[in-house]
Symmetry: C2
Subunit: 329 residues, 2 copies
DNA sequence: TCGGGGAATGAAAGCGATTGCATGGATTCT
DNA sequence: AGAATCCATGCAATCGCTTTCATTCCCCGA
């Protein structure tokens, strides 16, 4: 026999389909004995409501989409987990797609998801503002780590944490710094660079800007090599992955960290605690970011056409072993 | 005005809804001019077919589910990417859930996904065979890295690659080995341990078994500490994450790798190339695994009730910097 | 005793697509 | 020229569920 429906159950219990539906969605409208009987029959038949049918009439897919620019970047798994967990708590499933670094794929995916989800979260979008705006037209959408006036956004602001990082190095005697810039298309990269520049200027210390480098391990090695061309003893890497590359490059060349150079990363991915030396970095509040994004999205879904929301969550500086006193020279 | 449907388009073009539907699904049945007109109107109105409605009548969700035991384990991102990519190529979307290490969550998620997907892939399941069998009853399902007679499975078999790893160490003069076992609930762990035992016995070398350890960085550090209690110069870690922990612990205690001890990991996660020293390990054919899993699943979906398939893909040994000649003693 | 009100249930109308069958006009064959 | 074909299209049923409105029945107050 085929898949059980509310009708199978209705028939079996001698009630109408409407009652079965109510037993599930508005149990208080159904008398106790009938409800119990229905539930029993449902369990027995292994009934599962068809979400397609429900979605068709309610107009809700109970699903949200998450587009990440590159799932292999260690930044994302924690985010994915937070988003999925929150979505589930709100009764929604998560549809995930990986844009594999391509801006075009990003907007194509938004289009593809349109008909299957109630809304989408785009994490670290690479696309142009115009493309994003266009792609999200008429679809609840929140951007992660990319502000845009007409779309909701949740961003992690590391500005003040990076100031702290600077101060931390300064206190350790460092006076000459290098900024290893991240990809120019990344809003986060621009913002971080800006924060560090501002700090350096305010502090009146020397800052050499290098890059941009790709946000990969390899990019980090290149950055490490470039760093060694300078006399800077304190280096700000764009993110942890880059920082790890730097560390590897320095280690490979026999340069001691933090003995000879101090390196700070950003994001505090799992990797950061794992490498040797463990990375001094800026912790992004992943769980909060993911949770907030889902909540904002949910609000957008429930009140379509509402004003976009913009949430800013600060990162926090955390000192570990990749930074230390400036070597006596 | 509300969301466009085939009726809006039909009306606008002076044709029936059926024709519009055909224009999309069976274009060869619609005359050229009409088809063009419909397409134009669709584009203009920003029409997107409702997948709920289509799903209701076709009985297909065009979606597959992927349940991973722990998305933060670096093993998974590559797999997720491969699965998503393949699913997309087959016209399906990917619904992802993270069981967060819980066996109970695993089966609960299968149940929850039932009504929204055409089938599910369960990666590295932690649940008991009986629970899995029960959860997958009547739902196309393929297991990844866990064989089970009545369910399809795709597994990565590292047995022969681990033999290679052993030989590699042996050639480098190692004669005393440690096996740092992984979680006892993991089929992969059991299988790997078995392979190594077999090799050691065959080779007639000494093998000390330690563990089980959790498959985390911390677990690896413990394993590292345990390793140092022994005289073994060659260590087989359960996986790369564990191996990284071992490396960190040894580094922390000033033990040189590969100078004093050689360590081999397993899986070849991104991490493996990243750490210092880079990890000698066994590469799992991630892309193949993901792709094959989706293909097998698709077959199951198309021919429900067909016999389960079992695919076995071999890992391949790769030597890097965490192994080397046994220190002269 | 009778009417009003509330609780439990049923009937039926969609939701937006797909699809088998029917139809009508143009084309082709004899 | 009349019949047989075929192509493009329309009609209408259907998928499984939710939800409005109506109905029935029972209890209570006057």
């Amino acid at each position: 026999m085929s898949k059980p429906t509310i009708y199978s159950i209705a028939q079996r219990c001698g009630v109408s389909a409407a009652t079965v539906s109510r037993a599930f969605n508005r149990p208080e409208l159904v008398s106790e004995p009938v409800r119990k009987q229905i539930m029993a029959a449902a369990r027995e038949l292994g009934y599962q409501p068809s979400s397609a049918a429900r979605g068709l009439v309610t107009g809700r897919a109970e699903t949200i989409g998450l587009i990440v620019s590159d799932i292999t970047n260690p930044f994302f798994p924690l985010l994915v987990r937070a988003v999925q967990r929150t979505a589930e708590r709100m009764g929604s499933a998560l549809m995930l797609v990986d844009a594999e670094e391509s801006a075009a794929a990003e907007v194509a995916h938004v289009a593809r998801l349109r008909s299957r989800v109630d809304g989408v979260i785009v994490a670290s979008p690479r696309s142009s503002s115009a493309a994003l705006r266009e792609a999200a037209r008429g679809l609840p959408c929140v951007l992660l780590n990319r502000p845009l006036r007409d779309l909701s956004s949740v961003i992690c602001d590391n500005t003040s944490a990076l100031f702290d990082a600077g101060e931390h190095l300064y206190k350790h005697g460092h006076r000459s710094f290098a900024l290893l810039a991240g990809p120019s298309a990344s809003w986060a990269a621009a913002r971080r660079s800006q924060a560090i520049r501002r700090w350096a200027r305010g502090r009146g210390v020397e800052l050499t800007e290098l890059g941009p480098f790709r946000a990969t391990f390899k990019g980090g090695r290149q950055a490490g090599a470039a760093l060694l061309e300078t006399a800077a003893t304190g280096a700000f890497a764009f993110d942890d992955l880059t920082a790890c590359g730097v560390l590897a490059e320095l280690a490979g060349r026999g340069v001691a960290v933090p003995g000879e150079r101090s390196v700070v990363g950003c994001d505090d991915v799992l990797l950061a605690k794992t490498v040797t030396p463990s990375l001094t970095t800026v912790t992004a509040p992943m769980d909060d970011l993911g949770e907030t994004a889902v909540q904002v999205l949910t609000r957008q879904i429930e009140a379509p056409g509402g004003a976009p929301e913009h949430v800013r969550l600060p990162g926090v500086f955390v000192a570990r072993d990749s930074t230390g006193p400036r070597s006596g020279s």
